[in-house]
């Protein structure tokens, strides 16, 4: 059995007295793709933020590549994340944004990588435009490029298809499939079940609890004890 890339143990998060996640226990094996489906405010984004170490659980643990999310060290470099916020600087161009993040991650050949990823998300014509001039969909595409250009081993994608036009959906779908094909683990959130053309373990999040969806095949991802 593959070593888990992500594991949560009795993970609970409350904001004030409001519980958002309750005793979440999940295992996602390395190279697997999992999807958490739920409505607005159901806790999907909170779950991803905790896994990335950006938010602290109230109790329980989240383990990512063997490291506790409360103190991620080496694992941080292996995570590519997409959130509702683009994490892009409005006054920098698309190219400058990617090159900046590439420098933070110590990537060499940043110019070539930026060109490659800007092309990959279909923004070549806008590579030298400032992000503040971008539409929401263009920002989403560039955010996908930002998350993927570091070659992450774990993709945490919060509603990756939001705001995308059909062409954008196809591009981003291809990129996610390619990442999974090279062995990247992916945890995707969505409002409703999506087909990506790969094995996906689907979970439903409701009232803070994460449960596998009925009749779901889960070949490479499973609920924990």
């Amino acid at each position: 059995m593959a070593k888990p890339a992500v594991e949560t143990r009795a993970l609970t998060k409350t904001f004030g007295v409001t519980p958002v996640l309750r005793n979440v226990a999940m295992l996602i094996d390395a190279g697997a793709c999992a999807m958490v489906i739920g409505g607005n405010g159901s806790g999907k984004s909170t779950l991803l933020r905790i896994l990335a170490g950006l938010s602290q659980p109230t109790s329980g643990d989240a383990i990512v590549f063997g490291e506790n999310s409360r103190s991620l060290a080496a694992a941080r470099r292996r995570i590519g994340m997409l959130t509702h916020q683009s994490w892009l600087y409005p006054n920098l161009t698309a190219r400058e944004n990617l090159e900046f993040y590439g420098e933070l991650y110590g990537l060499t050949h940043r110019e070539e990588l930026a060109t490659k990823w800007i092309d990959a998300v279909g923004l070549a014509a806008s590579s030298n435009d400032r992000v503040r001039e971008f539409s929401r969909g263009m920002e989403q595409r560039l955010s996908i490029a930002r998350a993927m250009m570091m070659g992450p081993d774990l993709l945490l994608l919060d509603e990756p298809f939001a705001a995308l036009d059909p062409a954008g959906v196809a591009i981003v779908g291809d990129l996610i499939r390619a990442a999974i094909a090279r062995g990247c683990t992916a945890l995707i959130t969505a409002h409703s079940p999506l087909e990506l053309g790969v094995d996906i373990a689907r979970y439903e999040i409701s009232n803070g609890r994460v449960i596998p969806m009925r009749d779901e095949l889960r070949p490479r991802s499973r609920m924990g004890a």
């Binding site: 950006l54 938010s55 602290q56 941080r76 994340m81 959130t83 994490w87 892009l88 600087y89 110590g106």
Partner: protein, 223 residues
């Protein structure tokens, strides 16, 4: 060091492109000077004292604005989270934000010195050059403190209000030392005459920079 350079270069590039912080800081400094000139109506014998005080008032308030804007820029589109997730040392992030705030404040202070020279009828010359050590040390210390506190206040709803409430009391000893050493310089005394005040400013710089480097990671982390 690469992360420090990358973040600082990014901040300077964004500022050169937009000019928002520098223009806002300069405008605020100018307004403060004008208000103080009318309020104090400086007499010839008090010009050095009043000019030094005006300079430091302008520096403190412009510095708070600069540090706040610097952190607000990181919160735009959630960029601070991206920096938190990236494998950079939080101390390098703090150092880069501090260096950027220092650079913006230093540019504005050059203009502020020119303004007090005009408004307070001071003479351009060696006295102004002797201002440099106290101003640079004061700016560095205030940038160090304000950057740390701006990171705290930027995560609160009433951040703009909280920053001065936190920053000014902590900076009062440095303000006293800075005003005294600046007054000494503008009065024509040699640098050695204000060495004790400069010593206090250096101690504050060391204290605030060390605290900032150690605490920044905890300050930017979310609950």
């Amino acid at each position: 060091m690469a992360a420090f350079a990358a973040i600082l270069r990014k901040d300077l590039r964004v500022e050169i492109r937009s000019g928002q912080s520098t223009i806002a800081l300069f405008a605020l400094s100018l307004l403060i000077m004008v208000v103080l000139v009318f309020a104090l109506n400086p007499q010839p014998m008090d010009r050095a004292r009043d000019g030094a005080a005006a300079l430091w008032v302008a520096m403190v308030f412009a510095g708070m604005l600069g540090a706040t804007r610097s952190m607000i820029a990181e919160n735009d589109n959630g960029c601070l989270r991206a920096l938190t997730l990236s494998p950079i040392d939080p101390a390098a992030l703090y150092g880069a934000k501090l260096a950027a705030a220092f650079a913006f404040m230093a540019i504005v202070e050059v203009a502020a010195v020119a303004l007090i020279t005009l408004f307070f009828n001071l003479e351009f010359g060696a006295d102004l050059a002797r201002l440099a050590p106290s101003l640079m040390l004061g700016t560095l210390g205030f940038a160090a403190l304000a950057t740390l506190l701006a990171a705290i206040s930027s995560r609160t709803r009433a951040g703009d209000l909280i920053l001065p409430i936190l920053a000014i009391p902590l900076f009062i000893p440095a303000i006293i030392a800075g005003v005294k050493s600046s007054e000494s310089a503008l009065s024509g005394f040699p640098l050695a005459a204000s060495s004790q005040w400069l010593g206090i400013l250096i101690a504050f710089d060391v204290l605030f920079i060390t605290l900032g480097a150690l605490l920044f990671e905890h300050v930017i982390r979310e609950d």
